[in-house]
Each structure stands twice: as structure tokens, then as C-alpha cells.
Amino acid sequence: MTSHTRLAALAICAAGCFTPLVALSHAALIEAETAQAVRLHAFYDTGEPMSHAQVIIYAPDNPVSAWGQGVTDRDGRLEFVLGPETGRWSFQVRQSGHGAMVHVEVGDDAPVVTATSSAQSWGQRLVMVALVGWGALGTALFALARRKGRDASA
């Protein structure tokens, strides 16, 4: 074995010995911090989820330009972490011209959620339809009575 060959073998052995040490020197670091997150659930008033709807997020200090965007999942849900700004965050969920906006107050205390609109039960809706129908019927009868009165006087 020549001196060059010995030197090469020695270099290879040294490299083999030190390589694991080099790999182990990539230590893992973790930084953990708490943050306020928002969980959205968007659905139509028929109960159907707004699947894959687009979400636009507006920060409290700039309610005109979007702070961030997202897309809901198949169930109409989306979770994300807010920035450090405190105040009223706004979230608009929209899909094919339909959508709604929700505002969330974020401050030093726990966030308070305010919903866009309360979902009405079918009972409430039927009462409303009945009331409007009653109003229309009254209008119709009133107009008919006036007409009959005019015809009679003529």
C-alpha cells in the first residue's frame, strides 16, 4: 500500500467518523407562543354548508384593505390565527354572490363573537308569511269594499 493510498484511506475513515457528528449538530428548536384564533362556520339559511367559499379578513386598523384570505373546507369551516391587533376584526364569507359578514371583538379579555343574523325557525317564518298574507288580504278586501261602495253610489 503506497503512502497516497494510506492517506486516502485515513481521510475516508475520518470523514466516516465525523459525519454523524455533523448531522447531530442540526439541533431542533421550538418557539411556542399563545395566540388568539378564530373558528368560522359558514352556512346558508337552508342549513347547507358554504363549502369552499372564500373568506376575506379585515383587521381593526384597516377595514378597507384585506388583511388576509382563506377558503372554507367542505363543511364550511375555517380556522386561523389572528394578528396582534386588538379591536373589531371583520370576516366576510362569500360564494357566487351570496355571503355574509361577521365581526369579532378582540381585546385583552377573551374575544366576544357577534353573529351577523340570527337564524329564524320555520315557525317564526310561517308567522311572518301569515302576517304579510293577512296584510295583503286586508288590503285586497279594503280595495274591493271601496270599489263596491263606489259602484253602489254610482
Binding site: E48, V129, V132
Partner: protein, 207 residues
């Protein structure tokens, strides 16, 4: 198919109010010119209720759900009266059900009043000669025109931060889902006018 608040830019909402105000003014002028406008009030009142309640009738058309519009029926049955009737119905729907917004009331008025007037025009042109064809065309055509106006407004008013391609695809799916509704509304108007022709022809616009 109602535009809610916050979906379109403020300028578009204001333009919608301006256009609808003009349309309502023209309609009221035409109504006033009729010999006895008050005679129509009972029919207008009842059909306004039908229009108001129709938005609650949801028809599942996978992957979405559509609801009855009845713009064609309103146009054929009420003529120019359809404009104030639809506006009252839209206002009540927005206030009581949250269907559509108050800021977008003008645009929603355009979306439904224009097809209603087109249906009225179609009925007036060919309703006397081909009543079935005119009735079906008015009912179905009104839905198609309303969807076209709705899609145009939505796509024109897209905010820059929105993914336009995804929204366009969603609008296309939404428009396709309305094709069965167009057929259904065409049949509704056709059947209703046939029944009226048989039992009470005086209620027909050409009765």
C-alpha cells in the same frame, strides 16, 4: 337569488338605487295613466304575498339550493304593477328573512323587475296568439334573464383581493343550477294561466 349587504361596492349599490328609482317612477307613471288603477290593487296585494313567500320555497339542485323567484309570473299577471309589488316584496324579504340586503335593495330590484317587465312585454306581444308558448317563455325566460343580470353584477363588482377565477366558477355552477328552476317556473306560469283561462278568464291580462 338576492344580493346581500357588503357584496358589491358602494358605487354599484347607489347606481342600483338610482336605476330602480327611475324604473319605479316610470312604472308608477304608467299605472297612474290607466283608467282605473285601484281596480288592480286586490290582485297586486295577493300576488305580492305570493312573491314574498316564494323565496322560502327552497328547491335542492345539487350541489346547491335555489328558490322560487316568480318574476315572470309577476310580470305576466301584473304588468307595470309588478315593479312596485316586487319592490315591496323584496323590502319585506330583506327585513323579515334577511334575504338580500337593504343597501342592495336597488340592485335586487333591477335583478327581478327587469325580467318581470320583459315577461310582461313577451306576454303582450304573443300572449293573445300563442298563450301557452308566451306563458312558458315568460316564466322560464325571466329566470334566465334574472340569473344573467345577477351574475353580471356579481362578476363586475368583485373585489381585487378575491380569487376571481374561483368566484367565476362558483357563479357558473350557480347559474347552471337555475336551469331546472327556469323550466319549473315556465311550467308554473303555463299551468296557472291555463287554469285561469278555464275558471276565471277575467283575471287574465288578456281575459
Amino acid at each position: 337569488m338576492h344580493l346581500p349587504d357588503g357584496i358589491v361596492p358602494v358605487e354599484m349599490a347607489l347606481a342600483g338605487y338610482a336605476c330602480t328609482a327611475g324604473l319605479v317612477a316610470v312604472a308608477l307613471h304608467r299605472i297612474k295613466a290607466r283608467p282605473d288603477p285601484q281596480a288592480e290593487i286586490p290582485r297586486v296585494a295577493m300576488l305580492t304575498t305570493v312573491f314574498f313567500a316564494a323565496s322560502l320555497v327552497a328547491v335542492p339542485v345539487p350541489p346547491t339550493t335555489v328558490h322560487l323567484m316568480l318574476a315572470g309570473l309577476m310580470g305576466v299577471m301584473l304588468g307595470w304593477f309588478a315593479v312596485p309589488a316586487i319592490m315591496v316584496g323584496l323590502f319585506l324579504q330583506a327585513m323579515l328573512f334577511g334575504h338580500g340586503g337593504l343597501t342592495t335593495l336597488g340592485l335586487n330590484g333591477m335583478i327581478l323587475c327587469l325580467p318581470a317587465l320583459l315577461a310582461f312585454g313577451l306576454w303582450r306581444q304573443i300572449g293573445g296568439r300563442w298563450p301557452d308558448l308566451a306563458a312558458f317563455g315568460a316564466g322560464a325566460g325571466a329566470v334566465v334573464v334574472a340569473v344573467a343580470i345577477f351574475a353580471t353584477i356579481v362578476l363586475t363588482g368583485l373585489p381585487a383581493e378575491l380569487d376571481a377565477r374561483a368566484e367565476r366558477a362558483a357563479v357558473q355552477v350557480f347559474a347552471l343550477a337555475h336551469l331546472p328552476l327556469a323550466l319549473a317556473e315556465g311550467v308554473i306560469v303555463l299551468v296557472l294561466l291555463r287554469v285561469l283561462r278555464r275558471i276565471e278568464p277575467r283575471l287574465l291580462p288578456h281575459g
